[in-house]
């Protein structure tokens, strides 16, 4: 099966900058998987998402070199700050979620059905009549994800989607991702949250200064949870356990 996204020696530089945000990246992202991208601030994780989804350089400007092949036709994107992703034109949650399907010119019944399915998936159906500006950050972010899902994207990129959410909200959001991937979509998430990423990701890519520094199963590549740090400081040999239960299992009693 062809990969959903194939990058071969891709470099990308934003307009007006000298240093490339991505340097010589070669990757294949597969459909049906949750792939996490992580790295230090400025490592290029957000840029990788924009390039993979085709938003860069089309909407950002800049120079892309190398080969980029994407078989996905309907990319969806979710950012960290919920309120910048609202259309600002819809005064109910239902209308906001329906915005995407409505933009495709689908018949009213189909639009409503797609919106209701997406609202159910995110557990925000009870907010359907509420004005989005009255919602909390967590509720709003779920509405935003529902809005992206209503279009049934085959490539969903999420840039630190739980940054503004409380722990329960973050857990609930991440828990949705494997299901979306299992339905056939390609899910690409940039996040600094190794603990949550490790619970849901099939694969983790670590970027450093625009290059791939590590790429493999989360258990081997994501080593920046509190538990992993404790284990390293206590002399645990690699691979480091990522959560308390895993660490407890590694200690000889």
């Amino acid at each position: 099966m062809n990969p959903a996204v194939r990058l071969a020696r891709v470099s990308f530089t934003y307009p007006g900058r000298e240093a490339p945000a991505l340097a010589d990246i070669s990757l294949e992202i597969r459909a049906g998987e949750v792939t996490v991208v992580t790295g230090d601030v400025g490592a290029g994780t957000s840029t990788l998402l924009l390039v993979a989804a085709g938003f860069a350089p089309r909407l950002t400007g800049g120079v892309l070199t190398g080969v980029r092949e994407v078989s996905a036709v309907r990319p969806g994107i979710v950012f960290a700050t919920p309120w910048t992703q609202l259309t600002g034109l819809c005064h109910t949650v239902a209308a906001e979620v329906a915005f995407g399907p409505a933009s495709q010119g689908a018949p009213v019944a189909a639009v409503r059905e797609a919106a209701e399915r997406a609202m159910d998936a995110l557990g925000v159906r009870h907010l359907a009549a509420r004005d989005p500006v009255t919602l909390s950050g967590g509720e709003l972010q779920r509405v935003v994800v529902a809005g992206a899902l209503a279009l049934a994207p085959d490539l969903l990129v999420l840039d630190d989607p739980a940054a503004e959410l409380d722990p329960a909200g973050a857990d609930a959001l991440y828990a949705l991702l494997p299901g979306i991937a299992a339905a056939g979509a390609t899910v690409l998430v940039a996040t600094p949250d190794h603990a949550r990423a490790a619970r849901v990701a099939h694969r983790a890519i670590v970027l450093a200064e625009g290059r791939v520094a590590a790429d493999g199963p989360p258990a081997l590549t994501l080593q920046d949870t509190d538990t992993a740090v404790i284990a390293r400081m206590a002399g645990c040999p690699p691979p480091l356990p990522l959560d308390p239960a895993a660490l407890a299992a590694r200690v000889v009693r």
Partner: protein, 253 residues
Amino acid sequence: MIGYVAGRSPLHRAHPYTPLAAAGALLLAAFAVSTPRAIGLVVAGAVLLALAGGTGRVILRPMLMLVLPTWLLLLVLHGILGGAPHVAFGPVGLSEPGVRRALVLGGRVTAIVIAFLTALGTVSPSRLVEAMTARGVPFGRVFLLVSTLTLVPRMRARTAAILEAQQCRGLRAGGSPAARLRALVPLVLPLILGALAEVDEQVLALDARGAGTNVRRTALDPPPDHVAERVLRWLLFLGVLGAYAAKFAGRGA
């Protein structure tokens, strides 16, 4: 208050094009007439519109703030500094043609301000979006118009948050005129920079939800447009045409 205020008045319940058409007709009529008596009728029409929209009390303050300085300027420029003949008014000599001119110009400004504040106050942005979508107006134009209409309330909310943040850094709100001037930069710049930073993300988010395509969007809940209202709008249009025809035929009111 500049911006939409929810309500149940006849204007609120009307098709969004109707209050806008009425405001537009009053604006055009204001320029078609050139006597104080006729402009008085146009102002009366605008006041009736405000009463029909139930917005009288709400728009009074912004209206006075916009209109009073204009009246003052006009009365000085034309009333006092205008040409002969002059009529004594206490210690001041008022120019009769100047006062007539000031009345017409001031009346124009008053009528236009009242009419547009009323239209802004009674036309729900989301209903306007649906109305324009149902008519097949491309999304780009819808977005531009409605974003402009909702600009003031959005900027006001932002400005309040910025003021709070800067006060917490030691910036004193108020004080001498020099102090107020110095305070402008840390208040205005974050407004602009923050808005620009958000625009980048909003463009990407909207594009991903299909906002940039040429496909005709589905209107989910278009406001009803009764025959009576369409007839009324046509009558307004014809009335304005008639006023201009009369003006150019030399029999201006």
